[in-house]
Subunit: 114 residues, 2 copies
Amino acid sequence: MKMDSHHPLDLTRAASAFAALGSEQRLSVLRTLVRAGPEGLSIGELGTRTGVTGSTLTHHVKILNSAGLVTQARQGRSIICAAVAFDEVQELADFLLTECCADSDATHEDHTHG
Amino acid sequence: MKMDSHHPLDLTRAASAFAALGSEQRLSVLRTLVRAGPEGLSIGELGTRTGVTGSTLTHHVKILNSAGLVTQARQGRSIICAAVAFDEVQELADFLLTECCADSDATHEDHTHG
DNA sequence: CAAATACTTCGAAGGTTTTCGAAATAACGC
DNA sequence: GCGTTATTTCGAAAACCTTCGAAGTATTTG
């Protein structure tokens, strides 16, 4: 469910991705997946590592998935989750910073990223 | 109020910064300030440009300020707001990605940012 | 000091999110 | 098909967020 995450970010999509990251539990889930790398982890293992379990974990993973930050794929009895955050988070940063100072009349000081 | 934003990010602070970005209205406010550059904008002008006004705007700016993403300074009758997002957003991205694959047993594939 | 401007605080109404447990579905082995 | 493991759906309770308008504070001007 939801495989499309490669059109450029609009305000609505960016806000919902940021909102997905804006909970300690979900941020901790996503970081655990980022640490785990491209192989991913089952929901069960993710629960063991983060302390978030059951329907609560299902709920949070679904939000991260809808935000395009996590993939889910069935493998036998388990669902394997993996972080897609690698590029996505840079895209989010760019969404905010890309037009830096565009409206500024001033002698553009160096506040860019990089 | 709140000038300290230079200790390293912990989970709680990072989540609250992401949560601050996770509303269309606040994201639009912050982008408007990023576009405006280091000079910043008054609350009134910010309201004119974003369509968010009055106590609602006060509320949203306060959340962005508490998250360390916006500064506020009185100048005469106005309050001038400016984005601090420049470095802060890169820090947030790093918070997520820094430990990429640390727990992975696999032959580390290249999923890093850069 | 009074009036005007710029913004904030307060409090309430409405909406959304979070969390939980019980029942449901999916896949595997016997 | 039946039991077991892994995860999801459903529904309800509590907590939290958003928005609004009315009243309040701060600052400048006459």
